[in-house]
Symmetry: C2
Subunit: 321 residues, 2 copies
């Protein structure tokens, strides 16, 4: 059994090959460039881990892992266009560097080549893996559309937000694990449990991400703390605060979002604290974490095989183990 780090290292070195043709360079350079920006490659490694949970790694799992990473990059590339983002991981986005049309087309062809990797696997698994891949791809697009819709809406219910997060980010984590499990010969119950482990883990991770953006230690968190608040980004915290606040507090929140005063972050944080949003978020994260771990427990394999996934959850969710 390999740890997340060991598999990540193996995947990264296998992934460092040419995935695209040479010509036309005006198209494929943009794809090569985007992949060179790098990433933690969490999703493909989850596919490998989901596979190894049930058996020695099936060589086909590497193809599916590659397809998943290409798909994920396709979504990021197109999301960057939609968000008009100038930078990703400190590097120019593709549409900034190569123009929007090439970025659009580069994303399209990256998705097609993801399917080329899927098409390499044994035909006994092909229908099942493609069906799950397609369902997930569709849901990720739906999540992105909901995210854009919510940006334009004055109010969004917490339930609707959770559903959006689930579609936009959690289902791909869940499906990555499940595709690996399919290739490992897992039965229906185990496949369901590993999916639910990933789905709940993903939501817990997003709750944590929103929490850290507001309450994280700036030195440890690395990102610009309070960025979400400054941008009026709809987060778990803000949406629950708008639901839980008193009329006066809600009015002040809306006023701060509207007027963007200098001390906005500080004042919003104060309201969050007065409403116990920080405690609420910790509990919410815990409840999704618990659900994830229960589903992992329920998988019918010896617990020693589950250790890498437990460690991954600990790492992603900063749990003390």
């Amino acid at each position: 059994m390999y740890s997340f780090e060991a598999l990540a290292q193996q995947f990264k070195s296998k992934f460092e090959v040419k995935h695209f043709p040479q010509e036309p360079a005006s198209l494929y350079e943009s794809c090569d460039y985007f992949l060179s920006i790098g990433g933690k490659r969490v999703r493909p490694v989850m596919c490998l881990m989901g596979n190894e949970l049930f058996d020695n790694i099936n060589p086909d799992a590497w193809h599916v892992a590659t397809a998943i990473e290409l798909f994920h990059n396709f979504t990021l590339l197109h999301d960057d266009i939609m968000d008009a983002a100038p930078l990703r991981r400190g590097m120019q986005t593709v549409h900034t560097k190569y123009g929007t049309n090439t970025a659009l087309l580069g994303g399209d062809v990256m998705l097609v080549i993801a399917y080329d990797y899927l098409n390499k696997i044994d035909r006994n698994y092909l229908h099942k893996v493609i069906a799950l891949f397609n369902k997930t791809a569709r849901e990720v697009c739906e999540g992105q559309q909901l995210d854009m819709d919510f940006e334009k809406q004055q109010t969004v219910s917490l339930d609707a937000y959770i559903r959006m997060i689930e579609l936009k980010t959690s289902v791909l984590l869940a499906a990555s694990l499940q595709m690996g499990a399919i290739l490992g010969g897992a039965g229906e119950g185990n496949r369901q449990n590993i999916y639910e482990f990933g789905r709940n883990l993903g939501i817990a991770f997003q709750v944590q991400d929103d929490y850290l953006d507001a309450f994280g230690d700036p030195e440890k968190f690395g990102k610009d703390v309070g960025g979400d608040i400054r941008q009026n980004k709809k987060t778990f915290l803000l949406l629950h605060a708008l639901e839980a606040a008193s009329t006066t507090q809600r009015q002040e929140l809306l006023y701060l979002m509207d007027t963007n005063p200098e001390d906005k972050v500080q004042r919003v944080l104060q309201i969050f604290k007065d409403c116990n949003i920080d405690e609420w978020a910790k509990k919410l994260k815990q409840s999704y974490t618990d659900k994830a771990m229960q589903h992992l427990d329920s998988i019918a394999v010896v617990s020693s095989r589950k250790m890498p996934l437990v460690e991954l959850a600990d790492y992603l969710l900063q749990r003390e183990s």
Copy 2:
């Protein structure tokens, strides 16, 4: 055996079902809308004809035909964004009606759903059909990129232009026929020949399209004759004229393209005629048509089965038969 028209009618009625989920309507309405704009559905019908050439229609051919038509619409939807086209078939384009972001995402999800239809076919054919579909999809993206590149270039060789046309439009016609042939159990040689029939037919059709835009009878052609000339569009005619013209003629052509005088169309047409571009284009179309028909002849099935394809070629290429 069915004629093109009979199959087109059958396909249109089968294609008139809901291909997309209901929710989120903000995403899928754009997809439904785009399909409602309609079209001649040439490519899916070519898949059905390529199938029926070898055997009774395989039920899977309907799934592949649907996937092809969805793929084609995905490319049109994204091309419209790249070309900033306000209208298609007299209707608002998706990005004009729903915004660029939704159009981008609507195209993405349409491609994913195309793969869902592919995934319905028998697993004995799945690898082969997806491989061809992917190769073709990649090539269509490459063709679109080359088309955009050429627009920015001062000069483009005729050979490079033919290659672009081949990628952007011909390979999908060829692959549609070949996917049908695969599902009909055709052997390697027959599969190659039907592909080459489609590829050459596609180029001949594009030569004709360029010819008619310049020399067509306005009443019969329906489109705005001379539109390509007015827009300095790189066409078979213009690129060959730039190669075949005398120094003086070339200078006048470039001057007309640069200055757009009132009588531009008339004067460019005069140069075309002086250089015998019209006769050259007719011969070029004939030579691709001949190649197409030779490949159709070479297919090892009784010639009576080929009649619908002969009729299709006659119809598309306005041949007197």
